[in-house]
């Protein structure tokens, strides 16, 4: 243990503790901007500088460690001057039009600048005004970038992508696509982790809310919306609505209030996905001739993009099943249009997703199997829906609970866990067990695949056959797994991969909380919903049984193939051969 003095308080902390953490342990908060624990501890912004007795120059608290007897001052005149001036430096290269910024009110730069009492800016503004493709789902505005470099590090270290890099030097240093290319020509998987780890509004999603408001205002449109599993874990966060209050049913009320005609649950189509993907797996296992294992889940479009761009040799092994969102769209504009007795072209299908890559998925030209229009018209992130709720001035605290519309609003516990890493695997195994044995397993029989480990392995015995499975979340972990597969170091039958660490509950389309990783607590909400669900196996879902009975026939039937499956080679990533 090391004992030191910080602002006159004696502090005892373990060796190798950073000055920042030592100070926090006695409730002395040193502001940070670039710091991101374990990922970006580079002392770049210099907002966290402190004074150490005996040393003239100031020291970054985030990446320097304590020493016995050290005397630290976090608020000396020298520190105050330098910290404030450094933030003023950053502001001189920052477009401070907070009133029109998506991160206003949730911006670390804004908070730090406000905290320091900065009321005027002494330095000349220099903004790079770089062009950016405003149609791309991921928008970078370097006029707001403070070069904290977190996006580069998250993309490279956590996601093994390396899309971002410093593209210039000296006072022209800025972050851009590595080597200076265009984002639309890059391998970007659109996981959105750079957005959720950005301290300012330099990175954001393309805003599609106006398209939805326009559809809502169009009397000829039947606007249908589906809500993905992970959305119910996080949509209330920006309002400060406690997690237990921020239920899917209160969101249904809010959405109805905005004017959506029908509010459905993507969980329904997650159950449908399990029927199709589970049957696909069982088919592969029954007829392994010419089949390459493992089979990979395909419900995460970030993962599909990554696989096609970076590990194309595994593209053939992706399940052909569409993602739940796309299955929903295909069913909404066919089966459900039939139930309503309307022209499917009148249906405008919106999805609310914890995800950025979904914005690209809905634009894939072949995702139009129901009626020729895009099966899903618009994909909104949770951040956008929350902005819509604010724009509609809805008081979320007074919302009553409303059930999802039917029949596409009924789902099982197996579907809701899609939003947490391991959930798709567990859901698929619950149904695969049934498909193989004709009997139901214990709903918790496959719980070994739960948990936040980035790369999990398990083996299960189903009717005398041992099934080797793996689950990875975060593309860096996926990359390791795929490399190990390629090198022959591991072998599996079935692998679930989610692009975002922790799965969709760590999704790049969810509300942003700087410095916090919430995938675990959000995922717990989903595991909790599964635990109390009346039905916990997808094949038990009566709406699913009905859609097969009345419309699709059976899993993998001709109509199911046409509507619910896709050719993963039918479109290309920018640099895909």
């Amino acid at each position: 243990m090391v004992t030191l003095t910080i602002d006159g308080k004696q502090v005892t902390v373990p060796e190798h503790t950073s000055i920042l953490d030592a100070a926090r342990s006695v409730n002395i908060n040193i502001p940070t901007l670039c710091f991101l624990r374990d990922i970006n501890e580079i002392g770049a912004c210099r907002a966290c500088v402190v004074e150490i007795e005996g040393i003239d120059q100031l020291v970054a608290a985030c990446n320097n460690t304590v020493l016995d007897g050290m005397v630290v001052r976090t608020n000396s005149p020298k520190v105050r001057m330098a910290r404030k001036a450094n933030v003023e430096f950053l502001l001189s290269q920052h477009d401070s039009e907070c009133t029109s910024c998506v991160r206003s009110g949730n911006c670390t730069l804004q908070t730090v600048a406000n905290d320091l009492g900065i009321t005027s800016l002494p330095y000349t503004k220099h903004l790079p005004h770089q062009p950016w493709n405003q149609d791309f789902p991921l928008i970078r505005n370097n006029d707001k970038c403070i070069n904290c470099l977190r996006c580069i590090q998250v993309c490279e270290k956590v996601q093994a992508e390396g899309i971002w890099d410093l593209t210039n030097r000296s006072s022209h240093t800025c972050v851009g696509v590595r080597g200076g290319g265009l984002i639309e020509d890059s391998d970007c998987a659109l996981c959105g982790q750079c957005i959720t780890h950005c301290p300012t509004g330099a990175l954001r999603e393309r805003d599609d809310t106006d398209r939805v408001f326009d559809a809502l205002a169009d009397p000829d449109r039947i606007v249908v919306v589906q809500v993905a599993p992970a959305v119910r874990t996080a949509w209330g966060e920006p309002f400060g609505l406690p997690r237990e209050k921020a239920t899917a049913q209160r969101l249904v009320t809010a959405l109805k209030g905005m004017g959506f005609d029908y509010v459905f649950d993507t969980d329904f189509s997650a159950d449908l996905t399990i029927m199709e993907e589970g049957s696909e797996l069982v088919e592969h296992l029954k007829h392994p001739e010419g089949v390459k294992f493992p089979m990979f889940t395909s419900c995460c479009p970030g993962w599909v993009r990554y696989c096609k761009a970076r590990h194309p040799r595994f593209t053939d092994q992706l399940s052909t099943s569409k993602s739940p969102g796309q299955m929903f769209g295909a069913i909404a504009k066919s089966y459900y249009a039939g139930l309503l007795g309307v022209d499917p072209h009148r249906i405008f299908c919106v999805e609310i997703m914890p995800c950025l890559a979904k914005k690209a998925e809905v634009d894939i030209p072949v995702m139009n199997d129901a009626c020729g229009d895009p099966d899903v018209d618009v994909s909104l992130t949770v951040r956008e829906v929350d902005r819509m709720i604010r724009a509609e001035h809805i008081d979320v605290f007074s919302l009553a609970e409303t059930d999802f519309d039917q029949p596409l609003g009924t789902a099982t516990g197996a579907a809701v866990i899609f939003g947490a890493t391991g959930g798709v695997m567990e859901a698929a195994l619950r149904t695969a067990y049934y498909l193989v044995t004709g009997e139901n397993c214990d709903a918790d029989a496959f719980k070994d695949v739960r948990g936040l480990d980035g790369w999990k392995e398990a083996s299960f015995d189903i009717a005398g056959t041992t099934l080797h499975v793996a689950v990875a979340s975060g593309l860096g972990n996926a990359n390791r797994l795929l490399n190990a597969l390629e090198a022959g170091e591991v072998s599996y039958d079935f692998v679930e991969i989610m692009a975002c660490p922790g799965g969709c509950s760590g999704g790049g389309g969810l509300p942003i909380h700087d410095g916090e990783e919430l995938a675990g607590v959000r995922g717990d909400v989903l595991w909790g919903l599964d635990r109390v669900a009346k039905l916990r196996r997808s094949h038990e879902n009566p709406s699913i049984q009905a859609v097969y009975r009345d419309y699709l026939g059976a899993p993998l039937s001709e109509r199911a193939e046409e509507l619910l499956h896709t050719n993963q080679h039918a479109w290309k990533m920018p640099r895909e051969a």
Partner: protein, 606 residues
Amino acid sequence: MARLHVMQRSEAQAVMDSLHEALGRRLAVSSLAPCPVEFTAAYVNMCATQSCGKCTPCRVGLRALSDLLNDVLENRADEHTLDLIERTARTIYLSADCAIGYEAGDMALTAIRGFCDDFEHHVQKHACGFTQSQLVPCVSGCPAGVDIPGYISLVEARRYTDAVRLIRKDNPLPLVCGYVCEHPCEMNCRRGMVDDPMIIRGLKRFAVDHMETDYRPNMAEKTGKRVAVVGGGPAGLSCAYYLSVMGHDVTIYEARHKLGGMLRYGIPNYRLPHERLDAEIQWILDCGIQVKCDTKVEDLAALRKDYDAVYLAIGAHLDRKLGLPGEDSVGVLSAVEMLRALGDEVRPDFSHERVCVIGGGNVAMDVARSAIRLGAKKVTIVYRRRVADMTAQDEEIAGAKAEGCELLELHAPIAIESQDGYVTGLRVQRQIIGGLSRGRFAPRQADAPEEVIPCERVVVAIGQAIESGPFEEQGVPCKRGRIDVGEDSAVPGMEGVFSGGDCQSGPATVIRAVNAGKVAAGNIDNYLGFNHQVTLDVELPPVQFKGKTSCARCEMTLREAEDRKRDFDLIENGLTEEEAHQEASRCLRCDHFGFGAFRGGRIEQW
């Protein structure tokens, strides 16, 4: 009012001088860092500050050029801008009235033309295409990429064995490099911006000389693969070491009597004692490496058949001839021959002889200083350029001078005089230095009569060649006598044959040979179907911020010249413990502070 004033240096002038000095120090150590376009812009701006303002090209043109360069940097430029930049620089060069202007224009032109790809990249991609290689400046400067801040921190923590262990992750010859490395790392040391660069080689030597205990490396499981290394010099030894820790069986074939290559047969004992060299080589061989000395490989194909892979590292051991009359006289010998004999502990007697050494490189200094030690009455180093143009390191030249060698600069040898077949003198022609030619100042014949320097012996030290002919005949591609391989060291058209070191690069430094061997080992390992990683296995002490302090560099000392020139014993004294710790504490830890922090500061494995 006085008629004249005594010139006085104002305080402002003193500050100006100190800033100029600081700028010089800064520039001296930072050439790996900047973006070429940024640097050109800064260079032009710097030149503009020196303009008196009288003449148009310098006063206005440099500013205009700076604006155009800024357009490139701020993504406002197109192809026309690049044309205009070139015309502007050319105009300044062509029409400025004094050197402040025309030199600025000329250097700007050099930059614009030399960096044309970088300018294009900026214009087209709006990004810099130049590889940033200043992650950790000293490490970037080291061909073998040794973790310099890492081992310096271990020296500071008095963990010398760990320091050596860390060095061996990237360089299996820490002792050799501690004694004779040319230390390109020090040229990039950021401490140089503050006062003086670190004495990195001295700290390496200190660690090697003060190891607490010996240790053995972690060896990978045996792979059963067999690799032949042809040539036991630094490249061959490095390759053999890493291949054997990766689990492969290695046999070194060495044409001479002992291993070491130029470390033994090129570097005299007084710089690198043979018993220390022997110990370092033995430590490597103890990894289970087989050795066949006195075995010259004649048939490459046959060798390849016996092994899973072959590494050719035959060095550059052929002497170059002067091509002058009288060169076949008795008493003429090459530096290669002389140093080779010394390497085998054969010490000819030069007593009462006058020796002329021809050449200006490190080898010329080595033979001159060895000749003194062999009893020569007089040693004259004859060089056709100036001492300032010599390629030998400054300390080698100073050492030779201190030991009594004469330096006869600007004298070109034109013939070797002899009587009855024995050397009697060296005929030389005085030269006068001229202008730049292919990057160096070239001498030409002076208007002066020829002279003869009486001597009994002439040692020719004008470079070495590679004995690549026999291999070329067997299908190894060669270019200008050098074995021609790709970046991965693989010999094109000969599967499983790799090559590197002096035989590929031409005569170079130990540390470049180490790099060659390391690169080859990694690629041979992959070729054999493996991907063994050589990993960091030493825990490093935490970094401590010390702030800016002022402390100059400790130098290593030499034994007194009068004493050291009488024997072949080691001449350089290592740092004392006090000096070593002061030096180690000067390290600015660029692995942690600055850009190093961004990318982790070190390569943990390769």
